[in-house]
C-alpha cells in the first residue's frame, strides 16, 4: 500500500472495508465450517427475533402433566411445569442471545476504550491501564462473577453488566496491540501534522484498521458470554422472571429431571447452547486465522516429497 494513498481518510476506510470483505471471501473458500456456523447462528437469531410468531405455545401455557414425554407431546415433550419445551427453547433463545450480545457489547466498549487509550497515549497511561488489566486477568472470572451477581441481586441488566465487566480484558489487549502498530504508520503521523485532533485520528484512521480483529474477538467473546449466562443461571443467579437456556437447565436439574429420566428437559437447551458456542468459535477463529495468517510451511509432512515420472 502506498503511503500517498493512505493520507486520504476516505481511501483508508475503503481499503479496510475491502480488507474485511476479502477476509470474509477467503473465509468462505477456506473454511466452509465457519460459513455453516454463521448460517446456523443467523437462523437461531431469526428464530429468537420472531419468537412470538414461531413458538407454538407461550412459556406459561400448561399443556400437560410435568415431564410429559416427547412421544405424547411432540416434538420435545414438556418440562417440570408442563410447558412445551420447544416453545421454551425459542423464547429462551431471546434471553440467552440478548445476554450474550449485550454483555459482549459492554465488554467491547470497556475493552476497546481501555485498549485505545493505552495504545494511543502510551507511557504511564499505558502502564497503569495494563497493570489493571493484568490484575483483572489474574483473578478468576467466574467466581468473581458469581460473587458480584450474588451480592448485587439477579436482574437482567445486572447479569449483563457483571458478565461484561469481566470479559473486556482480552479485547483490551488486542485493541492495544493493534492501536500501537497503527499509531506508528505514516498516514497517522501525517494527519497529526496536519493538525487533526486525537479523536478524529482515532475514529477515522485507527479504528478502521483495528476493526477486523476486533470483530473476530467479539464473536469469540459472545461464545464465552453465553456460557457464563448458563453458569450463572445454573447457580440461581439469573433473572427469575425470564426464561433462558441456562434457566431451563437449572429448572430441569432442580426438579429432578435426571431421576425421572426426562432427558428431553435437559438435552435440548444444552444442545442449543453448544451449537451457538460452536458456531461462534468456528466463525471467530476462522476470522482470526485469515487476518493473522500463520501460513507457515509445515516442514514435516505425513509423507515426504513425491517422485514423478514426467520430464
Amino acid at each position: 500500500m502506498s503511503t500517498a494513498l493512505e493520507s486520504e481518510p476516505g481511501v483508508v476506510a475503503e481499503t479496510s472495508e475491502r480488507r474485511l470483505r476479502t477476509a470474509v471471501w477467503r473465509l468462505m473458500k477456506d473454511r466452509p465450517s465457519a460459513v455453516v456456523g454463521a448460517i446456523v447462528l443467523g437462523l437461531i437469531v431469526l428464530l429468537a427475533i420472531f419468537a412470538p410468531l414461531v413458538a407454538p405455545h407461550g412459556i406459561h401455557d400448561k399443556i400437560g402433566p410435568p415431564f410429559g414425554r416427547p412421544a405424547d407431546f411432540k416434538p420435545l415433550g414438556l418440562d417440570d411445569g408442563g410447558t412445551d419445551v420447544l416453545s421454551l427453547l425459542i423464547w429462551g433463545a431471546r434471553i440467552s442471545l440478548i445476554v450474550g450480545f449485550a454483555a459482549t457489547l459492554v465488554a467491547m466498549l470497556i475493552g476497546g476504550t481501555v485498549g485505545i487509550l493505552a495504545g494511543y497515549y502510551g507511557g504511564s497511561t499505558d502502564t497503569v491501564l495494563m497493570r489493571i488489566t493484568d490484575y483483572f486477568l489474574a483473578i478468576p472470572d467466574v467466581p468473581l462473577m458469581i460473587v458480584v451477581a450474588a451480592i448485587w441481586g439477579p436482574s437482567l441488566s445486572h447479569i449483563i453488566l457483571v458478565i461484561g465487566m469481566l470479559l473486556w480484558t482480552s479485547t483490551a489487549r488486542i485493541v492495544r496491540a493493534q492501536v500501537k502498530s497503527v499509531r506508528e504508520r505514516v498516514y497517522v503521523k501525517r494527519a497529526r501534522a496536519l493538525g487533526a485532533g486525537d479523536a478524529r485520528i482515532v475514529f477515522r484512521h485507527v479504528l478502521p484498521q483495528v476493526a477486523p480483529l476486533l470483530v473476530a474477538n467479539t464473536v469469540l467473546t459472545i461464545a464465552v458470554a453465553i456460557f457464563d449466562e448458563t453458569a450463572l443461571a445454573f447457580l440461581g443467579l439469573s433473572d427469575p422472571s425470564k426464561i433462558s437456556w441456562g434457566k431451563m437447565i437449572k429448572n430441569a436439574t432442580e426438579s429432578a429431571a435426571v431421576s425421572y429420566g426426562a432427558w428431553w428437559a435437559i438435552v435440548p437447551p444444552g444442545v442449543c447452547v453448544a451449537i451457538v458456542i460452536l458456531a461462534c468459535t468456528l466463525i471467530g477463529s476462522a476470522m482470526e486465522d485469515s487476518l493473522n495468517p500463520r501460513l507457515r510451511v509445515a516442514h514435516l509432512a505425513a509423507r515426504g516429497f513425491r517422485i514423478g515420472t514426467e520430464g
Partner: protein
C-alpha cells in the same frame, strides 16, 4: 543468577494480585453500601451473646478502614468468620472442602492434559489428514459443551450404574479401607470425567496450534536436513519447544478449571469448594462465600505463578 529480575517481578506480581483479591473480597462483602451483608454479626438465629462477640471480634461498630485493618489481621490468623448456616468457622469448612476438591480436580486435569496433549501432537504432526480433522472436530465439540450440562448428560447415561452424587454411599456401613476407596472412586469417576472431557477439547486445540507453530520453524527443517526421522523430530525438537506456549495456555485454563469445578461439584453434589460456593450463594451464607472465593482466587494466582516459574526454567531466552 539468570533472570533474578524476572523471578522477583513475577513474585511481586503474584503477591500484589493476592493482595488485590483480598481487598476486593473485603470491598465486595463488607464495604459496599447497604447492610444486608455488611453485618457479619447477622448470623441467622444467633444468640445476642454471639452477636456481641462477633461485633467485638470484627470491629463491626468501627469505621470501614479500621474494619479493613482488623480483617487483614484476621486473615493472617486464618480467621474467616463464622458460617451463617452452620455456625462453624469458615476456615474449617473451607479447609475440608479443599481436601475433597483436590483429588477430583487433579484426576480430571491429569486425564485431560495427557490425552489432550497426545491428541494435539498427533493432529499437528499428521496435519490435514483425517486424524487431524477428526481430532479437531471432536475437540471443538467437547469445548463447546457447557460443563454442567455435560455432567448432567453423563448422569443420564449412567443412571443406575454409577452413583447419582455425593462422595460416599451413606448406606455403606463400616467399610474396609479398600471398600471405602472403591466407593469414593465410583463417586469421583463422573465428576472427574466431566472435568476431563471439557478440558480435553481445550488442551487438544491448544497443543495442536502450538505444535503447528513450532513445526513451521526453520530449525525443524534443519533437523530434517540432518537426516532425523519425523518421529524423532517431533519428540526431540517440536514438542520440547511447543511445551512453552502449551504451559502458558494451560496456565490460562486454571480459571476455567475453577469455574468448571464449581459447576461440576454442584451437579454431582461433590462436597468440595465448588459446592460450597453454590450452596453459600443459595443460602446467602456470605462468610462462607467470601472464604471460598478467597481460597479459589489465591489458588489460581498461585498456580499461575508456578507456571511462570516453570516457563522460565524451560526457556533459556528469558533473562529479564
Amino acid at each position: 543468577m539468570r533472570g533474578a529480575d524476572y523471578i522477583i517481578k513475577r513474585t511481586a506480581f503474584a503477591l500484589i494480585t493476592v493482595f488485590v483479591a483480598i481487598t476486593l473480597n473485603f470491598v465486595l462483602f463488607r464495604a459496599l453500601p447497604g447492610d444486608t451483608i455488611a453485618n457479619l454479626s447477622k448470623v441467622p438465629g444467633a444468640t445476642p451473646q454471639l452477636r456481641a462477640e462477633l461485633t467485638e471480634e470484627f470491629g463491626l461498630d468501627q469505621s470501614k478502614w479500621q474494619q479493613y485493618w482488623i480483617y487483614l489481621g484476621q486473615l493472617a490468623h486464618l480467621n474467616l468468620g463464622v458460617s451463617f448456616s452452620s455456625t462453624e468457622p469458615v476456615t474449617s469448612e473451607v479447609g475440608r472442602a479443599v481436601v475433597n476438591t483436590v483429588p477430583m480436580v487433579l484426576l480430571g486435569t491429569v486425564f485431560s492434559v495427557v490425552f489432550g496433549t497426545i491428541t494435539g501432537v498427533l493432529a499437528a504432526w499428521k496435519r490435514r489428514t483425517l486424524l487431524d480433522h477428526g481430532s479437531v472436530s471432536l475437540a471443538l465439540i467437547f469445548y463447546s459443551l457447557p460443563t454442567h450440562w455435560l455432567g448432567l448428560m453423563l448422569l443420564l447415561l449412567t443412571a443406575g450404574i454409577l452413583p447419582r452424587g455425593g462422595r460416599t454411599d451413606e448406606f455403606l456401613f463400616n467399610p474396609t479401607f479398600t471398600e471405602h476407596m472403591i466407593d469414593i472412586g465410583k463417586h469421583m469417576l463422573l465428576p472427574s470425567l466431566t472435568l476431563g472431557l471439557v478440558l480435553y477439547g481445550q488442551y487438544t486445540l491448544v497443543t495442536r496450534s502450538a505444535m503447528l507453530e513450532t513445526l513451521g520453524e526453520d530449525f525443524i527443517l534443519t533437523a530434517r536436513a540432518k537426516g532425523m526421522r519425523d518421529r524423532t523430530i517431533v519428540r526431540r525438537h517440536a514438542f520440547r519447544n511447543a511445551m512453552l506456549p502449551i504451559i502458558t495456555l494451560v496456565a490460562l485454563s486454571f480459571g476455567y478449571i475453577v469455574a468448571g469445578s464449581i459447576l461440576i461439584e454442584t451437579v454431582f453434589s461433590w462436597p468440595g469448594v465448588g459446592l460450597l460456593v453454590s450452596r453459600s450463594v443459595q443460602r446467602r451464607d456470605w462468610p462462607v462465600l467470601q472464604g471460598a472465593f478467597l481460597v479459589l482466587t489465591i489458588s489460581v494466582v498461585f498456580f499461575n505463578y508456578v507456571a511462570d516459574l516453570l516457563y522460565f526454567k524451560l526457556d533459556p531466552r528469558i533473562t529479564t
